[in-house]
């Protein structure tokens, strides 16, 4: 094998310059080096960014602990720009039920993340929580826009009703923001299904925490408060994927993973698998799901080893490592996590 002296440890700028003056064979070697080099640089940058100490703001005693909510009325417009500001942080309830439901729901969501996981809002730096209600015309949906805002439709009355009524839905949407600021899981394929599952997990925990329910008491349904007759009784079931409504085709294990091109690779369908793993983990352990299981899942979400293209197996491995690290290698917690992933046939790496 010839030694390509031009493809040693040289700066990218120098390599580009050399490539322009090189022979065809040398140029190919240089370009291959640059491609490989770029992948390493991106990975190092990603790891470095994830390992930067948390900004001091959330670590200083006395900082954090209070949400900063703003609720806007979109007036049934489909525009993304905020409509009229109708309720700000600290203001009294208004006459609009949807506005108050959004305000209260985000307050409860903030509480879970702060009280249990010591996270100050979406970005852990007190980011403003901005909700846009009455979005669109009979809009049967709610979404996170990727730019710090959450939009809520009033529903069409058949598929969905007022989406601000679902505390788990509000928690679900805010958690998309948390995920974006942490693992930033790519929104397609397994990583997308994981992204969706994490939102269902913490959305459900927001509701359980607010209601003071144990894992055994919770119904583990997603969206039961917002569905219309076509999707009753719920959008999804973490306890029994595939049974939430007559259209529910969520799988409960990897043997039934759905390969499809719609919904970015079935991300709202295949999320049933990690959802069920969390349910099994929580009910196996008993007690309150936001405690040990929630802490393990939250720790995993923040772990730099969970990258944007993580698979179920990669995430499962990180959850087990955190369970062992936090609670002990042979702890009930670690065994419950193992049981959760075994139940859905995800091989833990």
């Amino acid at each position: 094998m010839s030694y390509q002296s031009l493809a040693c440890i040289l700066s990218p700028d120098l390599l580009y310059k050399l490539a322009r003056e090189a022979t065809d064979e040398q140029r190919l070697a240089i370009l291959q080096t640059l491609e490989l080099d770029q992948s390493f640089r991106l990975r190092r940058a990603e790891l470095a960014a994830r390992q930067v100490p948390r900004p001091l703001a959330s670590m200083v005693v006395g900082v954090g602990g209070t949400p900063d909510r703003s609720i806007y009325d979109q007036g049934h417009s489909s525009a993304y720009i905020p409509g009229a500001l109708v309720r700000n942080e600290g203001q009294d309830p208004v006459s609009d039920v949807s506005v108050n439901q959004a305000y209260d729901g985000f307050g409860f969501t903030y509480r879970l993340f702060w009280d249990i996981y010591h996270r100050d809002s979406i970005d852990d730096q007190g980011m403003a929580i901005e909700a846009m209600v009455h979005y669109g015309d009979v809009y049967d949906n709610a979404f996170w826009d990727g730019a710090g805002h959450m939009f809520f439709g009033d529903g069409d009355g058949q598929l969905l009703t007022d989406t601000t009524k679902g505390l788990d839905v509000i928690g679900h949407e805010l958690t998309h923001g948390v995920t974006q600021h942490e693992a930033n899981l790519t929104y397609s394929g397994q990583s997308g299904a994981l992204n969706e599952s994490i939102s269902d997990v913490f959305g459900s925990l927001v509701k359980q925490y607010h209601l003071g329910q144990s894992a055994a008491q919770a119904d583990w349904l997603i969206g039961s408060d917002i569905v219309g007759p076509e999707l009753a009784p719920a959008l999804r079931s973490m306890k029994a994927p595939g049974t939430a409504n007559k259209h529910d085709d969520q799988p409960a294990d990897m043997d039934h993973y759905l390969h499809t091109s719609t919904d970015s690779g079935g991300i709202h369908t295949n999320s049933g698998i990690p959802n069920h793993a969390f349910y099994v983990t929580s009910t196996t352990l008993g007690g309150q799901a936001w405690e040990a299981p929630g802490n393990i899942w939250y720790d995993a979400l923040l772990d730099p080893k969970v990258i944007h293209r993580s698979t179920f197996a990669m995430f499962a491995g990180v959850t087990l490592r955190h369970a062992r690290s936090r609670y002990g290698a042979t702890s009930n917690e670690a065994q419950a996590v193992q049981a959760g992933w075994e139940a859905v046939k995800v091989r833990v790496r």
Partner: protein, 96 residues
């Protein structure tokens, strides 16, 4: 022309499907369908960040022997296309 819409994604992750004859659409909507045969109409939201739980739309137009497919993520939908998608969505039924 035969027009088929598939709306997928959203918080519910439910695929909705509607198939209509273009003559059953309003005059304005038929014009949009004709435009889409030759133009990929995209809205101003093409540079918006990637969100979550938004809809995606796939529109298939069969005109004679040719078939044209257009695909949009929700932020990308052109304002002129929105009424057409809304009309088709109102007629759509769950795919499963």
């Amino acid at each position: 022309m035969r027009v088929t819409l598939v709306r997928s994604g959203g918080l519910a992750g439910l695929d909705l499907v509607a198939t209509v004859d273009s003559t059953d659409l309003s005059g304005d909507q038929q014009k949009v369908v004709s435009m889409l045969l030759t133009k990929d109409l995209r809205g101003k939201g093409v540079n918006r960040p990637c969100g979550a739980d938004q809809f995606s739309y796939q529109l298939e137009i069969q005109a004679g022997d040719s078939t044209v497919r257009r695909h949009w993520q929700e932020p990308d939908v052109h304002e002129a296309v929105r009424p057409l998608l809304a009309a088709l969505t109102r007629q759509a039924k769950p795919a499963r």
